[in-house]
């Protein structure tokens, strides 16, 4: 669509496709950042209502302008750098998680045909990018020169490394079933089945992925690196102003990305299951992006729901769960999927 | 065994030590010398007939000018089995202001003894970690003594931590918005 508009203006060939790509990036970036801002609002509203209160109410009707006010506030806040900090690393650290989280978006297809880079190793690329964010956290913890952030950084390293394994293994079943690493092809592969979503044959994988994704994004009940009551705020305890906001943004983009992968790999992406479409053919007229967004928002809601319900894990229990439960389960899932695929 | 009998029992066991047994409002107090206080407490704790197993409270009292020996350390012992409360008051003279610690009998005596040392200056011999507890470590004097004033203008002799705060507050005045 964008390409045709650009070619109609008269720019063709390489230059045209580059401009089209830049426009697409701008669109994705803008839309995602707006969603990130409103994900915080959504979270505060959801958790507020779960906890018998209203959430933000003052800025705009029902506090609808709160995220914008927050953004402006953190942008103009004084950027405090501790005297004993390693200044260069301290300044670089918050950029890395944001960069890696945004990088993941490059391979996410939002609806049929709309993807920034339709590469054939999409899933691998996402794993690589999402593990990069751990560097930012470790660097933040180390360079702050504070014992609390140092402990937070250490916890995060251990946690991300352990759960990365489970996260990767849980998706192997999907790869076997769809015979591809390309996210668009994975979605298309799901359409071949009557149920239209891999969550039904891959329930084990989906379960492991869900839990590992919580740990990967440092969300409750796995928010040990920040563990407010133990480590005060963990790795970003010394950060303020916009640098602090960057960590926050990275967390929310990470959450959106993880939800997107879950939607694409297990719940059929922007498509509806064939049996639903047969029953209600008129639903086919609804654009795919709507279903995609709805599914993502359901996932994000689950994140908030769990955060407001569950207590925090203890460090050793977290490691036990990761290595003794999730990884064996993921391996079992791979074996079963492979056997079924081979014999049927 | 009720507290009156227990008090008599102590007099029987430690006739040299017990100075007086007093009763007020159906509570018994035994006034003893401080030298064998640990033996008395251990006896009360370990004898199965007495079985005073809960040290409710340990505190010091300054009888400045009211009694011959200036200080008293007061132990409130309670027997969960016989439901009796006994008060042991050990007299501690001012010139040698010390008494044996009972921490190895009652672990819970640790902090109350430190507090008594902090606020009254009674030294507990054999205490594992006798430091000031409520007041700063460089504080001078023992506030619960009767000769310690409730209010006074110390000027230069004020506690250093307080002076530092005042100094800092003055320094920060220049950053205040006009």
């Amino acid at each position: 669509m964008i390409e045709s508009v650009i070619s109609s203006v008269g720019i063709n060939g390489f230059a045209g496709s580059m401009i089209a790509l830049l426009v697409k990036i701008a669109i994705v970036f803008g839309v995602v950042m707006l969603h990130v801002a409103y994900a915080t609002y959504f979270e505060r509203k959801v958790i507020g209502h779960i906890q018998l209160r209203l959430g933000p109410m003052t800025v705009g009707p029902h506090g609808i302008l709160q995220p914008i006010a927050d953004g402006i506030k953190s942008f103009f806040k004084e950027d405090i750098i501790p005297a004993g900090a390693d200044k260069t690393v301290f300044k670089i650290a918050p950029v890395i998680p944001v960069f890696s989280a945004l990088g993941c978006l490059a391979v996410v297809p939002f609806f049929d045909g709309f993807v920034l880079a339709n590469i054939n190793i999409g899933l691998l690329y996402i794993f690589a990018m999402s593990s990069l964010s751990a560097y930012g956290i470790v660097m933040a913890g180390w360079s702050s020169n504070s014992k609390y952030s140092f402990l937070g950084g250490l916890r995060s390293t251990a946690q991300v490394i352990s759960y990365e394994v489970a996260l990767g293994l849980s998706l192997v079943g999907v790869m076997i079933m769809s015979e591809s690493l390309n996210l668009t092809q994975i979605v298309e592969a799901q359409q071949k089945y009557w149920h239209g979503m891999f969550i039904i044959p891959q329930f084990l994988g989906a379960f492991v992925f869900m839990i590992a994704a919580f740990a990967e994004t440092n969300r409750a009940p796995f928010d040990l690196p920040e563990a407010e009551s133990e480590l005060v705020a963990g790795f970003f305890v010394e950060y303020s102003g916009m640098r602090f906001a960057l960590f926050y943004m990275a967390e929310y983009i990470g959450m959106l990305v993880m939800s997107a992968i879950s939607v694409l790999c297990f719940v059929g992406g922007w498509t509806l299951p064939p049996f639903v479409l047969e029953a209600f053919p008129s639903l086919a007229a609804v654009p795919g992006i709507v279903w995609f967004m709805l599914k993502i928002y359901f996932h994000v809601f689950v994140y908030y729901w769990i955060r407001s319900t569950l207590p925090r894990f203890r460090y050793d229990h977290l490691m036990c769960l990761g290595w003794k439960v999730l990884i064996p389960l993921a391996l079992l899932n791979i074996v079963i999927t492979a056997l079924v695929k081979y014999f049927c | 065994m009720n507290s009156k009998e227990a008090a008599e029992k102590i007099r029987e066991m430690f006739p040299e030590e017990v100075r007086e047994i007093r009763e007020y409002n159906s509570q018994t107090s035994v006034i003893v010398k401080r030298d064998r206080i640990k033996d008395i407490i251990r006896y009360l704790h370990s004898d199965p007939l007495l079985n005073f197993d809960l040290l409710k409270d340990l505190c010091g009292v300054d009888y400045s000018g009211k009694k011959e020996t200036r200080f008293e350390v007061v132990y409130h012992l309670y027997s969960l089995e016989y439901r009796s409360l006994l008060r042991i008051r050990a007299e501690v003279p001012e010139d040698d202001c010390s008494i044996d610690s009972v921490v190895d009998i009652f672990a819970g005596a640790n902090w109350p003894e430190r507090e008594c040392y902090d606020l009254l200056g009674v030294v507990f011999k054999g205490h594992p970690d006798l430091r000031r507890i409520l007041l700063p470590e460089d504080w001078e004097g023992h506030p619960l003594r009767k000769d310690y004033p409730l209010q006074s203008d110390l000027g230069e002799k004020e506690w250093k931590g307080y002076l530092d705060v005042i100094e800092l507050a003055k320094k920060n005045m220049e950053f205040e918005t006009k």
């Binding site: 779960i50 906890q51 018998l52 209160r53 014992k147 609390y148 402990l151 409750a220 009940p221 928010d223 563990a227 407010e228 009551s229 133990e230 480590l231 005060v232 407001s308 319900t309 569950l310 207590p311 925090r312 894990f313 203890r314 460090y315 050793d316 229990h317 | 007020y24 409002n25 509570q27 107090s29 197993d53 809960l54 040290l55 409710k56 409270d57 505190c59 009292v61 300054d62 009211k66 007061v74 409130h76 969960l80 439901r83 008060r87 009652f106 672990a107 819970g108 005596a109 640790n110 902090w111 109350p112 606020l119 507890i133 409520l134 007041l135 700063p136 506030p143 619960l144 310690y148 409730l150």
Partner: protein, 398 residues
């Protein structure tokens, strides 16, 4: 290092938890030596909130020292007031009238509920379950409103007086309190559905911070800390004061002495408190709320002071000299405060001011047990342990 060839120097990381830390419930400071995530050594430091209450008490009349007790355990100021008034009454040998006793019992149990609710909320928040906090605070708000209705104040109530209570209860207050006791047990169930069977909660509390019965007695622990270890010691049953001998209630006991058992104990205590309040309202006798001896201890009402010469003189004497009929004696009197045994030891010398006022505060003793609980545990357990001992630093530092 050249002098230690082939040998790595190993040192624990020392972190300073508090006095400003979200989970230390005030200004407690813990010096933790940690090896990885394991605590090797824990040294608590207290005293940041020391206000010299005992010294102040010695320099005030018996009447004037009452408001000081509000500021000890400010979460349950009513229980402190009751304890103080009871101690002075026992020292003077007077007794409050029956109706006042029931009102005091009722009010102390309200304080227990409010204190336990705050404990539940913050304890759960420390462990990471944040919704319980807001659920518990909803009911606590209700209790505080009831306090306001009864006394005019929400937190520092100064409601009981030596020889009774300040004012009689209204019908309106009683009916709304009755409604509260009706609904409150259902709300407790709601908190329990959130955390009681939750596996993470169980993992975080079961077998954490174990104190055996012998240890608990030896350390001088009282209240739910002692009962959680299975020792049946409750002053309300052992030596009943006020109207506790006229109401029916159970004392919940734990078995293992771990954080979970103490949690269960406190939850059950809240139910029993609601039960006691109900019975108090049902059995509330008619009559005065101040003892006939009261003129010797209580200020006469303002309108009488302005009209009546005698009342004026009495007011003057009470304010300047205090109740001068004080006997020459000593008394140790304790009540079962929400946190444990709150004891007052008075030595009087015949003047209107106590010669020595000693406060035995449960928080002080309970804070001293922290090294026993924390050493060998993980950093996350330190937080659970601070929560389970349920201390208020105002009372700990006095």
């Amino acid at each position: 290092m050249p002098e230690q060839k082939g040998k790595l120097r190993k040192k624990e990381l020392t972190i300073n938890m508090g006095p400003q830390h979200p989970a230390t419930h005030g200004v407690l400071r813990l010096e933790l030596d940690i090896d990885g995530e394991t605590v090797v050594k824990c040294t608590p430091h207290v005293g940041y909130l020391h206000r010299g209450t005992e010294k102040l008490g010695e320099n005030r009349t018996y009447l004037a020292a009452l408001p000081l007790t509000d500021r000890l355990d400010y979460i349950s100021s009513m229980a402190n007031n009751v304890g103080y008034c009871l101690a002075v009454e026992r020292l003077f040998g007077i007794e409050a009238p029956e109706r006042a006793k029931f009102i005091r019992t009722m009010a102390s149990e309200m304080a227990r509920i409010s204190s336990h609710l705050l404990w539940l909320g913050t304890h759960a928040l420390d462990i990471g379950a944040m919704t319980v906090f807001l659920y518990a605070f909803k009911e606590r708000e209700w209790i505080l409103d009831l306090f306001e209705m009864l006394t005019g104040a929400r937190l520092t109530v100064t409601y009981p007086r030596i020889g009774g209570v300040r004012n009689d209860v209204s019908e309106e207050f009683l009916s709304s309190l009755y409604k509260f006791t009706d609904e409150f047990p259902k709300n407790i169930e709601e908190y329990e559905t959130l955390i009681d069977q939750n596996r993470i909660w169980l993992q975080r509390t079961k077998n954490i911070g174990i104190i055996t019965a012998e240890e608990a007695v030896n350390w001088g622990l009282t209240g739910p800390m002692l009962r959680g270890s299975g020792v049946d010691y409750d002053l309300r049953k052992y030596c009943p004061y006020d109207a506790y001998d006229k109401v029916d209630f159970d004392v919940p006991l734990g078995k293992n002495g771990d954080t979970y058992d103490r949690y269960r104990c406190r939850m059950e205590e809240m139910r029993q408190s609601a039960r006691i309040i109900r019975q108090c309202i049902e059995k509330l006798p008619e009559g005065p709320v101040m003892t006939p001896d009261a003129p010797k201890f209580t200020l006469p009402p303002k309108e009488r002071i302005l009209k009546d010469m005698e009342a004026m003189i009495q007011h003057f004497v009470l304010v300047i000299k205090g109740p001068v009929t004080a006997p020459d004696g000593e008394i140790y009197s304790a009540i079962e405060a929400p946190k444990g045994e709150l004891g007052f030891y008075f030595i009087s010398n015949g003047t209107g001011k106590p010669y020595r006022m000693r406060l035995r505060s449960p928080s002080f003793i309970h804070a001293s047990v922290l090294p026993l609980l924390c050493e060998g545990a993980l950093v996350a357990d330190v937080i659970a342990n601070i929560g389970t001992i349920d201390i208020v630093l105002g009372e700990c530092d006095r």
